[in-house]
Symmetry: D3
Subunit: 279 residues, 6 copies
């Protein structure tokens, strides 16, 4: 088991708090950081430092001596560009410099919104593999693409290992029909993080962050490198959620769901593909 | 012929000055902008406004009424992250918002450094197609990836057409052995820009910015959409340049050339691929 | 009736909330924005976006497609200069650029504090007409003068129509003796806003924002251009308020009331006019 | 003669250098400041400190012990708003706070561009008096209005005396036909500054900054308060300049000259007054 | 008794609130300021203005007319450097410029953390005098050193008098064993502040901020200049607190207590002195 | 001989250029950095990176792998506070964090202006030892005190070794009478730097940066720790310089020379010591 401390950013968010609890219980030495106070009792041996991702040395200093950084900090929803750039672009750079300095492995909370403008597969259509084209569905998704490719760069240039988890819908229970495809259970995420920490070698890896859902949109990825398989299944909740669909044709057509039509300026669910045959 | 004015950013740089001259001579109404003064006589009908890409409304205002934006502004070489983020990330956002507001087409000076960590093909190895994986070779290249994918986003979400030209080595003459593969002549670039302006439909397109070089690294792209074929050929200069190779094994192995080993912290030309078989 | 959406800034303030409710009830399609969350249920068809007036493109984007902008955002009381300049000067510029881009009409919540250092008229003395000299009584009032004259500039230079309402004391009920002259009832303001939206032509107009108070300080303005007449009357509250006067001779002498002596550095109610006959 | 030092901001500009020379020769103790180095030999007893108008205490400190501040600093031509706001709005506030702290008199280099959108008088039409409506012709002119009215505020509230000189065209010789009306000779400006320093009382005054030109656009002002009369006359240069007119109908119609059509977005010299009868 | 108003910064903190109450009761005219609202009823004649220490002129303006400034504002605990620099370094400069302008005396809430890395005296070892070497124990303590020496500079260069109080542990009751040496009672602090205000001459003085504790770490200082003697004694609480010691050998060795081991990167209580004989 | 690279900041300044040349010639591997371009040919094996001391990670990155940092960067003369704080306070923190991360030794170009308000010794008066009271003579000197004491803190808390050289007057030849006491020759400085690099242990040391001048103001310091003795002597230039004295009584009284009377606001060479007997 990894002996060096694990730094968890975004520790005061919903996923951060769950991971702090689960990783603490699993015996990891945790360093927690967030721009907001940590609202829970600290796990045994854990230390929390409040810091802003924009303050370069305050962030770099948190990472000293750590073997793994789980980067869940930054804005986690679609926002105006000006709200995204500081934590998700500049802050990410600080995190990668910290990882490089420490020789630490970085696990990056990426998102399905990096590929949200791919259409949902119909029937037997092919699922989307990890090496598909990026099609971000907003400034948030675009910042996550940037993060994945900074990981590509730091691996190629500096040998910093990183795992990029394209998280689907990570909530205690699936919330709507789309989540039959995209749900990631809390236990599946916690188990994945442990494997990301423990795996011998990861290079630059990409993993679809979804549970074992039969209706998944997604295919091949690097989960074998870390030795993870999801165990939960959104089908257990089908009765509750399969009727929960929006009436928005754009939202229901694309994988990114309700992020895709935000501030959509065209009338009537216009899609570029309707206009002519360039994709 | 396109009647609306064409906005050219980065007009005071080497490529900007050449394009201002050529497009002016071809009869386009030009609006030129740069953070530095424009050093040449203005083409007939052209207007130059000095502006910083960071000033949102100053930039957006330059684009009013324009039908095409040729975005050559921002930092054009590898630099510390802090020097890149403002013009190349924030400034790019201003440019895309301008294009969206005007319904203008955007032509983006992207770079081969978006894919610089792909190895150079040997012998009959397959060439790299436009839809290959991104492998940026520095903060500069990563900012260009960001720009290409903001183009993908604005096309998918707002219907803003954009052409992303992954410029190789655009100099009056090819300068070293690598340029046998990567050279883009000034006339070929100027002709490409005219086709980008005039093409009926472009959607989100990617074009390799190289002349008709037999030793090219690159294969398929969207040049047919705009109706462009390069006419110049680096082989005409082979005698002068084929001996001009660096001794750096990293530089000579990867497509990005001397950007790839910059600040490389490992000894002896280490490549992650040498370490184990994850790419 | 105006069909294009109406953008209301400062929507989460007291006047903003009242106007959102009244204009929503009157059938207008509202876009609401504020730096603070909107605390009320959204009117039917209304959309709220949280934004800072300092973020140029975030503001400009709210205005897209709107036919009228009711600008009630920014600081609404006397504050240190440093607190005023960003929202009330820079933010105002963003709003006017938005109006220019959209060809929208701007209605500006100006203030009696633009002319607060005029003395209150005694007996039959002449009332103050809209084209009187500006005499701001603080940084706040001075920022409102700046706003009115940016309206003058955008009308003269760009044809942007604007109505500048010099609001007196806009509260549910009049609060003190001065309000016998300066009170503006909520219904009178709401009716005025509807007329500002609906009027055929307004050019650059100035309107005194007071109800039908016999003791008013103010005379001629452009209310006929928009077809508005106030219906309420502060005299209905005379018994409650006529004794509510401060003991401050500066406050009671000038129209701006208690803003005028703030940080007044001279002893004993000194007025420059007392010193010699230059005004 | 005024014994306290005179602070001159903008000392390294064309007018600043001339005034430094003339006031130095007249025996005043000068403190000079500018964001650029002072290019000339220092007058006897003068001291130059390089400072940015944006640095509050650096500016306030220059004024210590001074009896008069001649404020010629800041941007002196039409510029994008973002370039104007810091020196001309924030910097002006620093200057006025300095004057208040010292009990100093402020002489402000205002401009004819505060009223540039008034039409030029034809034939026997009335000339414009100092208390006319403000009609700024750009962001520069608007910043000068702001400065004049901050003077109004500081006089009314704090008893800070100030003279606001609406400078016409202050050049060694008149340059074009418009200057027959607007020219201010260097000697006339220098003499006016000495009167501004020496006058016993000025309150809040406004003076048209033009020489004794028969074709002037301007009428009444407060020159008698300071005891100044211009002595030079643009008619002496009529032969050289009367043919120098632009072909632009907007420029030639309004007092502000070529500032008025800058970025004018309407076709064919459109004026709002042409459209309907609201001014 | 000092007749000019007393400015108290940091008025909304624990010590600030106590001093506002006590000095108000003692009859001083108070001006209170803080970045946070003042939570208590205002003492008679007191005025509170909310302001940020970073806003130069807003701060300088609070001090106008004051004869003494009690500077308790800024960060009062160990924090990342980035959190300290703005209020404690830049803000301090604003305060000293205010004092210089007013000819006011400055009383600075310095701290024992300016000398926190001196060892605690054992047995009969010499106590620390005011002119000992500085040995700050963190960024906070270092900012307090900076403040004391800015006081030294402003006295030497500008004749600004200042008293620097190296506060020990100022709490209603002593809290742990270390406080037997370092406790400063609220009444002792309040009496000291009154003496700082009333003393005829102070020059640049340094006073140990502790009550009359027999176990004190500290010896000579300038208390005779102001005529102050502490009256309270931590021994009265010995039974409650003498067992309250941490187990940390670094913390218990040095005067600065638990600040000294914060982020200490060496194992096992390493002290540089252990390593070799350089101090 | 030290094998790790030596980082030299401020490399493009006068002392930096001399040291780059001398240390390069002595065989050290140099990394050079400055905010301005390096104007000389690079010594063999040296690398220059242009960087701003304010950019935290750009600075920290220069130091990677270095064993010694010679910190000559930042402002090197008296300047307004606002000009000093960013490079000399914030930038210094970046440098110390870099040293801590690398376990590097820091050599800090401190200054005699840290003690400039001590009087010059007369006749046989005692010379000033390294552990005298700080008496900075301006914002520059105060920033150097801050730097020395950050060194004290990083040694006490983090074991970062540092040598603080209080440079006197380091010029090719002595320039005035004061330099008979304060001159430091270029060769003496270069030899001292080599000893700072090579010395086995330095802890936190302070060295007077003056040549072997009989008229020195300064006494004991830590030069024996590094094994350095100056070899040059200002007396060799006595004939040229002994008459070069200013007429300013403040300047000639204090060790800091002409920095001490800068912006001195009292008349007639006032010294606080004249006023009463508090020092």
């Amino acid at each position: 088991m990894q002996k060096k401390p694990v730094l968890l950013t975004g520790a005061s968010g919903a996923l951060g708090r769950m991971l702090a609890r689960e990783l603490g219980a699993a015996g990891y030495t945790l360093r927690l950081t967030d721009i907001s106070p940590f609202p829970d009792p600290l796990p045994a041996g854990a230390k929390f430092v409040r810091a802003d991702l924009n303050e370069a040395l305050a962030i770099v200093r948190q990472a000293e001596g750590c073997g793994t950084i789980l980067h869940f900090g930054g804005n986690a929803t679609e926002q105006p560009f000006e709200t995204i750039i500081e934590p998700n672009i500049r802050g990410l750079y600080h995190i990668y410099e910290a990882a490089r300095r420490e020789g630490a492995r970085l696990v990056f909370a990426s998102s399905n919104h990096t590929i949200g403008f791919h259409e949902r597969p119909k029937g037997n259509e092919a699922k989307l593999d990890f090496d598909c084209q990026f099609r971000p569905d907003g400034y948030y998704g675009l910042s996550k693409v940037y993060g994945e490719l900074m990981g590509r760069l730091y691996w190629d240039k500096h040998g910093v290992e990183n795992v990029n988890v394209r998280i689907g819908s990570c909530t205690p229970k699936p919330m709507n029909a789309r989540a039959l495809s995209t749900w990631l259970s809390y236990p599946d995420l916690a188990r994945m993080m442990i494997r990301c920490i423990e795996a011998e070698r990861v290079g630059h890896s990409v993993i679809w962050g979804a549970s074992n859902n039969p209706a998944t949109f997604w295919g091949k990825d690097h989960r074998d490198r870390i030795g993870w398989q999801p165990q939960d299944n959104a089908e257990d909740y089908r009765a509750e959620i399969e009727g929960k669909v929006s009436g928005d044709p754009v939202e229901e057509r694309y994988q990114g769901g309700f992020y895709t039509p935000i501030e959509y300026s065209r009338k009537g669910g216009f899609s570029p593909r309707d206009a002519f045959d360039l994709d």
